[in-house]
Symmetry: C2
Subunit: 109 residues, 2 copies
């Protein structure tokens, strides 16, 4: 039995800090592959491979402009992650919530 589907999930794609940085940069606007790689010390192929992972996770799209490949952020797949994480918000908020309820009760007295 193969251990897991061979292709990049969104969670796996964002597990890597380099790829997270790329997505952040794309949040400020479209960028060419070269521009996305510039902030790193990686070789060009390494950059290209990270971009492929992001593509396969559906987090970016590509379009050709001359000899450049312009990448654009596709944030939609992150919505699932947001939902998943949001579920846990109640737990890290609990302390604040309790404090809130306490304050509510005390001010009512």
């Amino acid at each position: 039995m193969p251990r897991r589907p061979a292709h990049a999930t969104v969670y796996q794609a964002i597990a890597d800090p380099t790829r997270r940085a790329m997505l952040e940069l794309l949040g400020t606007g479209e960028r060419s592959a070269g521009e996305l790689g510039a902030p790193t010390r990686l070789t060009q192929p390494a950059v290209s491979q990270h971009l492929r992972v992001l593509r396969e996770a559906g987090l970016v799209t590509q379009r050709k402009v001359g000899r450049h490949r312009i990448y654009a952020l596709q944030a939609a797949p992150l919505a699932g992650v947001a939902d998943w994480v949001r579920y846990f918000e109640q737990f890290w908020d609990r302390r604040l919530t309790r404090l809130g309820s306490f304050l509510d009760r005390s001010t009512r007295q």
Copy 2:
């Protein structure tokens, strides 16, 4: 030059579906290591290793009760992930936002 800090980040910890399932289960209350492993087909050591990753990421704590290890969710480290993902919300919401503005404008006429 070593490629990356050897120890589990939160992002890496939640990249694995088994570990995400464990965290979800812990969201419903504390569980022993055995209970956390039960839904999976993994061997006991494999479960124990996943739990170690979650521990090292600070996502769970352990306490001994008799011969059981009771695990509890520590959601706080997920807040960072939530913040990171929330930044991108503006991008997947944009379409809805535009629709919203459009509706606002049309109903005003």
